[in-house]
């Protein structure tokens, strides 16, 4: 990296970040409006939060790629605060809640000042999952009715869930034109949102799904308005209203209830959720950072606190770090905090220029977006995944989920913690281990003087109760070093810890270090350590593939016998060399399977499961890759089809290497790499002709091997054969080139 001139670097990255900020603002607009409406606050409140967050956190924050704004998790708490304190008058409740939001901003700031970010480790990860699922169910239950065009269904989450069939029946029983239109918009939007991730077209994906929904539904409204001449086809309760004059209509936070226990309760739960959601998101985004930076959590919390205070003062919601928008930011090439700032700036532009169009957004469309968000939080897959980890984890998850739905969020999470503790005591058949050792130090870390390795030994037990102690030590180890974690003196390790360690292990391997966990196998033999066995490697949970092969697998097997290659259908988690490829910089590799390897190990064909985005915004992808070893010298480069996305990348500084002699090749392909000179000499006329005359693959070289990908999906047998032929010919040309060069 060019350390000497960070400012120049910053300027150079600016176009990329402006672009990414723009894409993020496209998703932030509908989400901001929707989340505010879902919390029964004025729609503009969500936008205010996003703007305050974007401006303040981008300047004062300590993370690099996060986007801040109104959060999903807070919808339920803010909603209950507004309804609860308003006692029938929603606007009054909103003013009281603004005061609570400002106060929670102060609390957040204090959290950051006293470096209490680590406190979030006190929450067992399964209980947190349960809480998030409950929030998801809450959003889904309320918004499902709105999506169908019914805005007046009241009650708590459970009764709203029960009323869903009722709403569908109502819709089918007396279909008025207005209702049908509303429901159509809602349901179609929802279908589109579910299908969107399946459509892998880079131009299409450029605009985030929620924006497509918003644009399409505004289009429909204008169609009714201008073509059919029926303005106000949907009642005003199904449309968004923005204040005419933003500055004049500023609400005043009402602090008159500040001393009541009710007010303090809401403030505390708002703060709690804000902290949890922000920290989870920051952690998740750090894993996606292509530059592998580490966020300063406490600095970020301070900035979020200030932003929340400002947002509350101007009538906005809480500002938290949000994962979905941050993932979009990473995927679109944002690489520093300015993207967050530009996202806010574009929102200001939208509100000022398109206020009229925004008011044409029908509520069912926004509700569909929220239903989808809620579904992503509460997806049943989560429960299955957790069940696979262990039955007791499923119990913890469900207890927290149900408790949160039945009572309040804070009670729910407290019950979740309690359940986890009881489960641990039950599994160990004794609570003495925990009560005796909880407050004692239990971690020893030192730099082994002979080997230069960091050695960490953990004693007694290690669970969510004292994981923060281990974490504090682990954070002090540079991830490029070799760390050995020894659990042989430790009697009990829980799921939260194993999951946390897995994160460390990943970040170490991303930065070229080693992270070894030892001493857990002793437990299996000695005490049948349930947690250690269960989570020793996350990959093991993927190993429930059916024994019988699919048709494609059988064909692959046949192909392997023809070629005399080795075929292995089972998933393998050995992918260390793949992470060096540029393509996987912002992606997350899970495992590869259907491996087809040539006898001399030069060709390796495999299906790869990997994911984009993190946390609830995670998209799982599967594609077929071919990796070939090249024995000749070769520069590091990337070759891709030229398209709209690459055109934008070029705007943002990544240079496309064009050849004057070969206008067709230059136009069709996007070639990039650091060492331009050697790439130019590497791409001989013959090679270029070869590429011109063959179907275009995504191709990447890391210096000694080439990675080839067809479409962003699994390839058919026919396509695989083509790919292999392509690779073989390519190798031949490379060999010939090599001879002619030397």
């Amino acid at each position: 990296m060019n350390k000497a001139n960070p400012f120049k670097q910053f300027l150079g990255d600016l176009p990329k970040n402006i672009f990414s900020g723009f894409v993020v603002s496209l998703i932030a607009l509908p989400l901001g409006l929707g989340l505010a409406i879902a919390s029964e606050a004025p729609p503009i409140a969500g936008i205010i939060a996003a703007i305050a967050g974007g401006v303040v956190v981008s300047i004062l924050g300590g993370s690099h790629l996060t986007i801040t704004g109104p959060g999903n998790g807070l919808v339920i708490v803010i909603l209950s605060a507004i309804v609860g304190m308003g006692e029938g008058d929603l606007y009054k409740g909103y003013l009281f809640t603004l005061a609570a939001i400002m106060l929670s901003g102060l609390l957040l700031f204090i959290f950051g000042v006293f470096r209490l970010g680590a406190l979030s480790e006190f929450f067992p990860s399964t209980a947190l999952q349960g809480m998030l699922a409950a929030i998801g169910v809450g959003i889904l239950a309320k918004q499902f009715h709105v999506m169908l065009g019914f805005t007046d269904v009241k009650g708590n989450t459970i009764s709203q869930l029960i009323l869903i069939p009722n709403s569908i029946k109502n819709l089918l029983a007396n279909p008025s034109n207005e209702l049908i239109l509303a429901a159509c918009i809602g349901v179609l939007s929802l279908c589109f949102l579910f299908l969107y991730a399946r459509i892998r077209n880079s131009v299409f994906q450029l605009i985030p799904a929620p924006m497509w929904v918003v644009i399409a539904s505004i289009g429909v409204m204008y169609y009714y308005d201008l073509v059919l001449k029926t303005p106000e086809v949907l009642g005003s309760n199904l449309m968004i209203t923005l204040p005419e004059n933003l500055m004049a209509s500023l609400p005043r936070p009402d602090f008159s209830k500040i001393l009541s226990s009710e007010f303090m309760g809401y403030t505390l739960s708002i703060t709690l959720v804000a902290v949890i959601e922000s920290l989870l998101s920051i952690k998740a985004v750090d894993k996606l950072d292509p530059l592998k930076r580490r966020s300063n959590i406490n600095k970020d919390l301070r900035a979020l606190g200030i932003a929340t205070g400002i947002s509350g003062f101007f009538g906005g919601l809480n500002v938290v770090t949000v994962i979905a928008r941050s993932s979009v930011n990473v995927n679109n090439g944002g690489n520093n905090r300015s993207a967050n700032f530009f996202h806010a700036a574009f929102l200001v532009v939208f509100i000022l220029l398109f206020a009229k169009q925004i008011q044409k957004i029908p509520m069912p469309a926004l509700a569909a977006i929220l239903v989808y968000t809620g579904y992503r939080l509460a997806t049943p897959e989560n429960l299955f995944r957790i069940y696979k980890i262990g039955k007791e984890q499923a119990i913890i998850f469900l207890t927290t989920l149900v408790a949160t739905l039945l009572t309040s969020l804070t009670t729910g999470i407290l019950l979740g913690i309690l359940t986890t503790l009881l489960v641990h005591v039950f599994l160990n058949k004794s609570g003495v281990l925990f009560s005796r050792n909880w407050l004692k130090p239990n971690v020893l870390m030192y730099l082994e003087e002979e080997t230069g390795n960091y050695y960490v030994s953990v004693k007694n037990f290690c669970s969510f109760l004292n994981f923060f102690k281990l974490k504090a030590k682990l954070d002090e180890i540079p991830p490029s070093e070799h760390a050995i974690i020894d659990f042989s003196l430790c009697e009990f390790v829980d799921h939260t810890v194993m999951e946390g360690l897995n994160d460390y292990s990943r970040s170490f391997s991303r930065q070229g270090g080693f992270f070894e966990i030892i001493g857990l196998d002793v437990h299996e033999a000695k005490t049948e350590h349930p947690f250690a066995i269960r989570k020793s490697l996350p990959e093991s949970s993927f190993l429930n593939f059916e024994i019988s092969l699919t048709k494609r697998q059988k064909l692959l097997q046949k192909l392997s016998t023809i070629l005399d290659w080795e075929y292995l259908a089972d998933p393998v988690s050995n992918y260390a060399d793949l992470e060096q490829f540029f393509y996987f910089k912002t992606k997350w590799i899970n495992y590869r399977y259907n491996n087809l390897e040539s006898k001399n190990k030069d060709f390796l064909l495999f299906d790869l499961s990997y994911s984009e985005g993190a946390f609830i915004a995670k998209e799982d992808l599967r594609s077929t890759f071919l990796q070939i070893k090249v024995h000749q010298k070769m520069p590091v480069f990337t070759l891709d089809k030229e398209n709209f996305m690459t055109a934008i990348l070029q705007l943002s500084g990544l240079q496309d290497i064009d050849f004057k002699k070969h206008p067709d090749f230059s136009k069709r392909f996007y070639l990039s790499g650091e060492d331009v000179k050697s790439i130019r000499s590497f791409f001989t006329d013959e090679l270029i002709f070869f590429f011109e005359s063959h179907p275009a693959y995504y191709l990447e070289s890391n210096g000694d091997s080439i990675l080839i990908r067809g479409k962003e999906r699994l390839a058919s047998i026919q396509e695989i054969k083509q790919m292999l032929a392509f690779a073989e010919e390519l190798l031949k040309i490379l060999e010939k080139n090599n001879i002619s060069i030397f």
């Binding site: 300590g62 470096r115 930076r293 580490r294 966020s295 300063n296 959590i297 406490n298 600095k299 004692k440 130090p441 971690v443 020893l444 870390m445 030192y446 730099l447 082994e448 003087e449 002979e450 030994s457 004693k459 030590k473 954070d475 002090e476 540079p478 020894d486 003196l489």
Partner: protein
């Protein structure tokens, strides 16, 4: 001096004590707090008589009173150099010795104290000694004592552990930059501590250090705690620690350090007390 009770470990304790006396050529004073009964006496004599290692200078005393006060008084009366106490690993398993008595004696004794957690009837050769290398005027003598013990028992390996308090690093790790700074700072502190400790060892008479293979290890962590954990981890046979010197402000912290060790004895612990040793 050996304080003993009629615990299941009695035989092993006595055997260990006799062996110790043999190696160091010292005089052995057995003190039991409790009523002297012929029964107890005969058991005791039988055990002493059965030991393969015998010591000429043995005296046995039976006293009545509060164990702590009596034993401390006895240690003064007989002007002993070392109190040897049998103990169990955890305080609450056998409260009698460690919980209240051994801990109090250890804290108040004016001489060195050796706590045995795994005494054995057969001789288990002691192979590895861990010594603290705190930055304190006592440390020099503690290290010297460790080498003396090592030579007497034929121990081949000594690890000198410098515990460096985290507050000395004074850089909180938040992000990459602070991590880098903290790592550099630590490296510097580590070097400093190492030279200090190595200096101490090199000033010792060559006769003491020649036969022993010694290494140093710096640990960043809670004082007193880390060394215990380390001793357990490397399966040391003896841990040699400083005792508190006087009750100045800093030494109060050292008291707390030993408390960590006492709460959960990692191995046999020898606490060196200056005055008693001179």
């Amino acid at each position: 001096m050996v304080g003993f009770a009629f615990s299941p470990n009695l035989k092993a304790n006595i055997y260990e004590a006799l062996r110790m006396a043999h190696y160091f050529g010292g005089e052995l004073v057995f003190v039991h707090v409790g009523r002297k009964t012929p029964e107890k006496e005969s058991i005791f004599n039988e055990i002493v008589g059965s030991s393969p290692v015998q010591s000429e200078k043995i005296s046995v005393h039976w006293r009545i009173g509060d164990p702590v006060i009596t034993l401390l008084q006895a240690s003064k009366d007989f002007d002993v150099d070392l109190i040897l106490l049998g103990a169990l690993k955890r305080e609450n398993v056998l409260k009698f010795y460690l919980g209240s008595i051994a801990r109090k004696i250890t804290r108040k004794a004016k001489c060195s104290v050796l706590l045995l957690i795994n005494p054995s009837i057969e001789r288990q050769p002691c192979q590895h000694i861990v010594v603290n290398g705190l930055d304190s005027p006592q440390t020099k003598l503690t290290i010297e004592a460790a080498f003396v013990v090592a030579n007497a028992l034929g121990v081949k390996k000594i690890s000198l552990v410098e515990e460096i308090s985290r507050s000395k690093v004074a850089v909180a790790v938040d992000d990459d930059r602070s991590l880098r700074r903290a790592t550099l700072k630590k490296e510097k502190l580590r070097r400093q501590e190492q030279t200090r400790v190595k200096d101490v060892v090199q000033k010792l008479p060559a006769a003491l250090t020649a036969d022993v293979n010694w290494t140093t290890q710096s640990i960043f962590g809670r004082r007193g705690y880390s060394i215990g954990h380390y001793a357990k981890l490397v399966r040391a046979d003896l841990l040699v620690m400083n005792a508190q010197e006087n009750l100045s402000f800093i030494d109060r912290f050292i008291t707390r350090d030993i408390e960590h060790i006492l709460a959960e004895l990692p191995t046999d612990v020898l606490i060196i007390n200056l005055k008693g040793n001179e």
